[in-house]
Structure formats: structure tokens, C-alpha cells
């Protein structure tokens, strides 16, 4: 029984305050939160980790755990306040009228229950359907969320599906009861971009078709722009700015929102015209938040007397929806953005540092030869197949691709953590493919270093920062004697812009960004000629990302080090790379200068990958290509062209039978595809700059 359509908002949060109560006392997570969502509207909630955005969703669901409590305010759902409701009444709303979709689809499905059974529960519990009808509906819904072979999926267990399929199942489950509101908490963060694009499309389609209102929670500005009508930006538990998406993203007024934008790379602007600007300082801990404006300590526009009062949301004049929590919003003007004025100035190519020829890497999954006691059988994965590439002195070579494309394996082979199966790697003229790092001479090891991905694992938790860097200095024989070593460590700390006190700190006292800086210091200790950076910033918040990227590229440029930057983030790659290699299922499908790879002619995969990147800049128009199907398993790669199972431009049976030839375009641009060169060249650019936005 659905209430007749009402005029009011589906959801209205009024003065919502949520706190967690821990041994350390009350920790306010969300403060004075107001939000209204109209029927059928899609609202985005954006902010960095720790800003309280996920707490909002859980508070709406009234699922805050033992420690969390709503300390003030109301949550009106269709006019009815949810805060005082008991479990029994909540049950009639949860799942039935408000559905939720979570960050990790695998973890949110019960591993020992078949998909069908998990789906059926919803209609059986919320609508008095008979089993047969419920089953019909569930199968129908699986088809509607774009899943193939619904009967088979109905009878399988969650782990038998891919991440994208799992998330579609979760969406189907949420939609089965025909809810008025869907809460999506970072629904695509765990997925690859091409899969993400499909899910985003599906969600948009659904809200249009069913009139479901959406609350979309994400840290990704581009994603919010692609999916939402309105947006609220959160910082330190408060909404600091809200309004229509085009409005806010086109002319943001709050210094924090501006800071977020300046910290992410956007297509259509590059290093020369618009260098990334990190937000200084770090998010204050909840118990250390300033009395006045929460952003005050990090704000460049801070003015004593105005900003040290508590700030309230103020509507902008001029009939717009935009509201800002900043007393100085009227005075602050964002400087006009720099625009790319053609190709970046070409830098002189240096000598060849690294030459990879026909590199193959296979490894076994499973265990040793005699597997009676430690595990199961083994299968072989061909993680890298026939890789050919060059890197020159002082240049940044980016390797991009989605999970399972073999980019991290390549990094490990390069630094000698894994031996190559076949092929050659020449580094500074020396053959290193067969030499594991343990067999390499000290000097070679120092000249070929690596920066690791996960800031929480990159440092040994048991040793002080100083001891760890000092060990590298000693190991590479750069200094001897206590004093001399210490002096070198201080120099390295200075290099990564950290104060000397960090010598005595322990890793758990450092933030993620600081740990990554130590990782950089460690890699650059022995004055390396080549540094491999495997997703060095992907685990960091955007405002911190910018600082680490700038630091890394700065050091690299000054020292003319070759940087091999491995990433899945195409915007970042475009921002900093000189040359780009695109990998798919262990193979290189396209490579060339950044300029060449990011403009036509494209390899069909690169084209899809580029189009899948959500862009926050309202001035940029993206041509949309949605890939069908799932990423094939690396255990059973497709025959012929590895991309043929998903390729939207597939050139017939040829693609399935024969490996595509490498076609050359210009001096340094190669594409592996069967399509004729003219056909490839005919594609239009993916991004188009629509000029400056129409807002003053």
C-alpha cells in the first residue's frame, strides 16, 4: 500500500546531529545537518574520508551500532519522523521504502546463501506475495538490472559472480520492494571504471523509470556530477556548501569546495596551465575541531573576527538554490581557471633508460609441487604477455589499465621481486630480467627503486621512521657512522618536506600522506635513475593526493629520474605523464605520447576507458561509450584480441581468431587492433571542452 503521491520531500533531515560514544568520550560525527530530497530527485553527498557522509546514510537507516546515537534533530521520511521509531516500525521502512546499496558488494551479500534466496526475502517479507510470484518478480528484476542468464545467477552463490554483477544483484534487491528512496554509499568505489560506468548508467536509468529518489554518497566529484541533480559538500561533519550540481561545480563559493576542485586533475587543463593545488593542513580530529569555522585552520581566506565565529548556512542571492557556510562567500572570487592552449611544451627526450622486449610473466595460482598439506592444485596465469616498451631518462611513463591487466605484476618483475618467465629487460644497458633483487648488486638495486601503493603498509610498524630511512642509507652504502647517516636522513626528510622531528616518530603517528612521503624519501635515497610508483596515491584523499603527486613529480623532474607511474586513474595520468602505455589482460593495447593516446585515433579499449572517467568540470562534455559484459578472468583469457568479448567496434570473427597487429601512427604511437587505420582515425575525441561555464 503506497501512500498517494505527496507534494513534500521524500526525505528531510532537519538539524541532524549524530555522535559516537567511545571510551574517549562523545565524538560528534555529523553536526547540524539539513537536507531535503524531492521525489525522483538525485542528491549527491560529497566529501573526503572522515567527513561524516556515510554516517548520514546509516543514521537515515537508523543503523548506527551500539556506539552511535542521534543526539538532536529529525529525519522526516514522507513527513514522518524516523528518529523516535522502534525496531518493529523501522522494519516496515527499511528495505521496503528506503533501500540501500553498499560500497563492497561482495561483503554485503551473504556468502553461504544463494542469490535467489537472498532476493526472495525482500518480496516475501514486505509484500504478501506467494513464492511463485515473488520468484517471477525477482527474475524479472535481475533482467532489468542488466544481468544475463538470470536463472543461473538466481541459483548461484555470491562469490561466483564478478564485482559488477554482485553490485547489480544488490541493486536488484534494493529495488524489489519498489522503494521511494535509495541510499547509495560509494557504490562503485570498489569497481573498475568501465564497470562503474555501466552501474552508474543503470542507476540513472532506474531513478528515471521508477521515480526513485537517490542519495548518492561519494568522494568522487566527477561521479556526483554524472549522476546527481543537486549536491551537498561535507567537511568535518558539516555541510559547507550545497546547491544544483552545475551551479556548485561551475561556481563554487566555499573555499573548501574550491580546494577540492583545485586538487583534482581535470581533462582540458594540464600541469602548465593548472597545477594541482593541495589543501594545506589536515582534517582536524573531531575533538579538536575549531570553535569557529571548521575549515578555518586550513583556509587561505581566514580573517580573524569574521571566521572565528560559528558559521551558518547562508543562501546566495539571485534566486539560486546554492547555500554556503562561509561568512566571506560574497568577497571570495575564484580566479578564472587556466585553459590548455595546445600541446604542452615538448621536453627533450633523454637517453633510453629502460628497454623491455617480449616480456612474459607467468605464475601459478595455488601451491607448491607437493600440495598434500598446504592447499589446492595450481593453475597458471599469464600476467604479462609480450610486453615491449621503452622509457627515457627524465620522462614519466604511465601504465594504465584496470584490475587484472598485469600492471602491478610488471612493476614487480621490473624491480626483481618476481622473475620474468621470458623476454628481456635492459636497464641502463644491463640485462636484469632474470635477476631477482636478491641477486642484483647493491648499486643496481639503489638505482632501480619502487614506491608502494598502500600507505598503511608501506612502513614497518615496529621501527621509527628514522631507523627505516637510516637502514636504506646504510644499505646502499651512502653514509657511514652515526652522525653522517643521520645527516643524510635529515636531508631526505627535507627532500620530502617533512620536519626533522619525524626521525623519531613511529609509523602509526603519521597520516597516510606523510607515510607516502617517507616512502618517496626511501625510494630516492640512493639517487635512483628509475623509480616505479605503483598506484602511489590511489589510497589517499584527493586533497592529500595532490600534495604527494606534486612532490613526487617535482623531485623526479629536478633529478631527471625516469618515473614509471602505474595507475588506474586516467585523469591523473593525463596530468603528469609524458608517455602512456595502456594494458588490458596482460597485454599492451596502445602506447604513445600522452597527447597521442588521449586524442584520436584511439584503441577501442582506450576510448571506452576514457569515456568511462567521470569528469567534475561542467565545462567538459564526454562522449559516452558503455562496455557490455564483464572483464574476462585472467585464468581463461579470450583468444585472438583479448578485448573482443567487450569491444563495441569489433571487426568480426577476425578479432576472435587472430592476435591483432600493431599499427603505427606517427613516430611514437602504436595501437594493437585489427581495424584499418582509417577506421581507427575516424573516431571523434572523447572529451570536448564546452568553454567556460555559463555562470558568472
Amino acid at each position: 500500500m503506497r501512500a498517494p503521491p505527496e507534494e513534500g520531500p521524500v526525505l528531510a533531515c532537519e538539524g541532524l546531529c549524530v555522535s559516537y560514544f567511545t571510551r574517549a568520550g562523545e565524538i560528534p560525527a555529523v553536526v547540524d545537518f539539513d537536507l531535503r530530497i524531492a521525489p525522483g530527485e538525485a542528491v549527491g553527498l560529497v566529501g573526503e574520508s572522515g567527513c561524516g557522509k556515510s554516517t548520514v546514510a546509516l543514521a537515515i537507516m537508523r543503523y548506527l551500532g551500539r556506539a552511535g546515537r542521534i543526539v538532536a534533530g529529525r529525519i522526516r521520511f514522507r513527513g514522518r519522523d524516523l528518529v523516535p521509531l522502534g525496531e518493529r516500525e523501522l522494519r516496515r521502512i527499511r528495505g521496503a521504502r528506503i533501500g540501500m546499496i553498499y560500497q563492497e558488494p561482495m561483503a554485503s551479500l551473504n556468502p553461504s546463501m544463494k542469490i535467489g534466496a537472498q532476493l526472495l526475502e525482500v518480496p516475501l517479507c514486505h509484500r504478501n506475495l506467494r513464492r511463485g510470484e515473488a520468484r517471477e518478480r525477482a527474475l524479472e528484476m535481475l533482467a532489468r538490472v542488466g544481468l544475463p542468464d538470470t536463472r543461473r545467477i538466481f541459483g548461484s552463490y555470491p562469490h561466483q559472480l564478478s564485482g559488477g554483477q554482485q553490485q547489480r544483484v544488490v541493486i536488484a534487491m534494493a529495488l524489489l520492494a519498489d522503494p521511494d528512496l535509495l541510499l547509495l554509499d560509494e557504490p562503485t568505489t570498489a569497481l573498475d571504471v568501465t564497470i562503474e560506468a555501466g552501474i552508474l548508467d543503470l542507476v540513472g536509468d532506474i531513478s528515471a523509470r521508477f521515480g526513485t529518489a537517490l542519495l548518492y554518497i561519494s568522494h568522487n566529484l566527477g561521479l556526483i556530477r554524472r549522476t546527481c541533480d543537486r549536491v551537498a559538500v561535507m567537511y568535518a561533519g558539516e555541510v559547507v556548501e550545497e546547491g544544483g550540481v552545475e551551479e556548485v561545480f561551475g561556481a563554487m563559493r566555499h573555499p573548501y569546495t574550491q580546494g577540492l576542485f583545485d586538487a583534482v586533475p581535470l581533462p582540458g587543463s594540464d600541469r602548465a596551465t593548472r597545477p594541482l593545488r593541495p589543501i594545506p593542513g589536515r582534517l582536524p580530529l573531531p575533538q579538536e575541531r575549531p570553535r569557529g569555522c571548521v575549515f578555518g585552520p586550513r583556509c587561505a581566506h581566514f580573517r580573524a573576527g569574521i571566521c572565528d565565529r560559528r558559521q551558518r548556512m547562508e543562501a546566495l542571492t539571485g534566486g539560486r538554490l546554492q547555500r554556503v557556510r562561509c561568512a566571506r562567500h560574497g568577497e571570495i572570487r575564484r580566479p578564472p581557471r587556466g585553459r590548455s592552449t595546445g600541446p604542452p611544451e615538448a621536453r627533450e627526450p633523454g637517453a633510453v633508460m629502460l628497454e623491455v622486449r617480449g616480456l612474459d610473466k607467468e605464475y601459478a595460482v595455488g601451491d607448491g609441487p607437493f600440495t598434500l598439506f598446504t592447499g589446492d592444485g595450481r593453475r597458471r596465469i599469464r600476467a604479462n604477455r609480450k610486453l615491449d616498451l621503452l622509457a627515457r631518462e627524465g620522462e614519466t611513463l604511465a601504465i594504465v589499465g584496470e584490475s587484472g591487466c598485469g600492471k602491478s605484476t610488471f612493476a614487480k618483475v621490473l624491480v626483481g621481486l618476481e622473475p620474468a618467465t621470458a623476454g628481456r629487460i635492459r636497464f641502463e644497458g644491463r640485462e636484469v630480467a632474470a635477476a631477482p633483487v636478491e641477486k642484483r648488486e647493491r648499486e643496481l638495486v639503489a638505482r632501480l627503486q619502487m614506491i608502494f601503493q598502500n600507505p598503511f603498509e608501506t612502513l614497518n610498524p615496529s621501527l621509527t621512521v628514522g631507523a627505516q630511512i637510516a637502514r636504506v642509507v646504510r644499505k646502499f652504502g651512502l653514509a657511514r657512522g652515526r652522525e653522517e647517516v643521520r645527516r643524510r636522513v635529515f636531508e631526505l626528510l627535507e627532500l620530502v618536506k617533512l620536519p626533522r622531528e619525524f626521525f623519531w616518530r613511529r609509523p602509526r603517528q603519521l597520516s597516510g600522506g606523510q607515510k607516502q612521503r617517507i616512502g618517496i624519501a626511501r625510494a630516492f635515497a640512493g639517487d635512483p635513475k628509475l623509480v616505479v610508483a605503483d598506484e602511489p596515491v590511489s589510497a589517499l584523499d584527493v586533497s592529500v593526493q595532490a600534495a604527494v603527486v606534486e612532490l613526487l613529480t617535482d623531485i623526479q623532474r629536478r633529478r631527471r629520474t625516469t618515473l614509471l607511474f602505474i595507475s588506474h586513474d586516467l585523469s591523473l595520468v593525463r596530468y603528469l605523464a609524458d608517455r602512456v602505455v595502456v594494458m588490458y589482460l596482460g597485454r599492451i593495447v596502445e602506447q604513445g605520447t600522452a597527447e597521442a593516446v588521449f586524442t584520436p585515433p584511439y584503441h577501442p579499449y582506450t576510448e571506452a576507458l576514457l569515456s568511462a572517467v567521470p569528469v567534475a568540470d561542467p565545462a567538459v562534455v564526454t562522449r559516452r561509450i558503455i562496455l557490455e559484459g564483464e572483464l574476462p578472468s585472467a585464468l581463461e583469457p579470450p583468444s585472438g584480441c583479448p578485448f573482443h568479448t567487450r569491444c563495441p567496434r569489433k571487426a568480426g570473427a577476425l578479432c576472435e581468431e587472430r592476435e591483432p597487429p600493431e599499427q603505427r601512427f606517427g613516430a611514437d604511437h602504436r595501437i594493437a587492433c585489427h581495424l584499418p587505420a582509417e577506421e581507427l582515425a575516424r573516431g571523434a575525441t572523447v572529451f570536448r571542452d564546452a568553454g567556460l561555464p555559463g555562470f558568472p
Binding site: 565524538i27 609441487p369 607437493f370 598439506f373 598446504t374 608502494f452 601503493q453 608501506t458 614497518n460 613511529r506
Partner: protein
Amino acid sequence: MRRLRAPGPGEAASAATALRRALGSLRESPLAITGAAILAFWLAMAVLAPVLPLADPNLPLEPLRPPLSVGADGSTTFWLGTDIKGRDVLSRLIWGARRVLVWAGLATLAAYLVGIAMGLVAGYRGGWWDEALSFLANLLLSFPVMVLYIVVITRIGASPINIVLAVTFASAPAIMRIVRGLVLDLKTRDYVLAARTRGEGALWIMFVELLPNARGPLIVDACLRMGYTTIALATLGFLGLGLPPPDPDWGAMIAETQPMGAFAGHAMLFPALAVSSLVLGFNLLADGLREISLRD
């Protein structure tokens, strides 16, 4: 809400701070404090046994006196009575504590040395090393513990060294499995890869990068294992396979009294209480430590 505690200022004397922090967090768990207190009590008794005013534990005095009775000479008090052979139960308990703590400690230590070495090699080296060591561990673990003890000790005789050996046989494989599991997890961490990419050798990686970071679960397990070993030693004593008489042994004290238990309940109950309280001390401390390690 990941990190609630503010990072402290730079630490200079890290070892002292770490100790103070450990003690500080111990204070937050009543269970751990109780356990530590029980252990401290027994430890003190064991250390002080030679200087305490106790009767000779092996000297037969007056048989079967109840607790708190006064000796025939009118001056000695049998606080906990005497056993069937007329020996002072309190004195035997305290000297027994000394014995069990020393040998359980040594045996656990030996088992840990072997277990850690095996686990580090199996986990870090992998391949054939792992297969061989895992097979060895499985082989030893396929004996029910007590059967292993009985077989080993009846074959090689009940001397202190042999008992340490038997405990090592029985416990090292379990420790090896724990260490191996921890190492398999830790060795994929980026800091271990970083150590390898700067050319560190296997020994450095095992003892600097891996072992110190596995210490949390290992300390908890060591505590529990001290408890198990105490039980094992006392049980062996009870079965007549323990440390050789006449020196006091808690398990043997119960076994000696059992046939005449109806007349000398105290000579059976006090050693039973003693062993239970000591093991309880270890278990409570282990539980408290685990809780603390999970908390932050």
C-alpha cells in the same frame, strides 16, 4: 572514525614508552590485572621459597594433620595441614610452584624457539621448505598430546630435560603453524616488499620485518601456552610421569593423596587449587591482552 586517539609527540626513549603504554593499557582491563596479580603472587612465592620460614618440603613430620593445626612441638603451625606422609602441604605447594614455573617457563621457551624458527622458514621461504616443515608439524600434531607425552616419556624417561623435550615436541608444531600463518599474511605487506627491493637478506626480513610485527598474537599465545604447559606438567606429575620425586610436584601431590582422599581432602584440594589458579592467571592475562590488542 578510524583513529580516535591523537598521535602523541615524538618519542625518544621508545622502549620505555612502549612498556609504559603496555602497562597503561593493562590497567584498562580488569581481567588482565587480575591475571597479572595472580601470576605476580605465584612468581613471588616461587622466588622467595628459599627465604620464607617454611618446613623442609620433603621432611616427614606428623601425618594427616588438618589445616591450621599446631604441631606436636607446640610451636610449628601447619597452615595447610600435612599430607599422608606427614610433609607440610604449604611448603610443598610453594616449592612446587618454583618447580612448575621454572620448568614450564623453560619448556615453553624451548618450544617457542623451535616453533618460531620453523614457522619463519616455512612461511617466508615457502615451496619445499614449507611442504617439509608442514608435514613434520602435521605428523607431530596427529598424536593426541597426552599420548605423545606418554610415549615419549615412557621411552626416554622422566627427567627435567626430557620433559622439556617432550613439551617442545608437542607445542612447537602448533607454534610453527601460528607463526607460519602470520608470516604468510605479513610477507605480502608493502614494507616487506620494500625491504626486498633494497636487497635485504632473508635473516633481516625474518627477524626485523616479520617477527616484530607478529609479536601481538604471539605474546597472547605464549601466555596461553604457559597455561597449557603448566597443565601438562601437572598432569604428567599426576600420572606419575612428571619430574622425579621426592621433590614436590602439584600433580603428584594429588595422585599420592587420591586413594586416601576421604581422610586427607586438603592435601588433594590445595594443590588442585594452586594449579588451577596459576593457569587461570595465565589465561586471564592472555584474554586481557587480546582484548587490548583488538581495541587499538
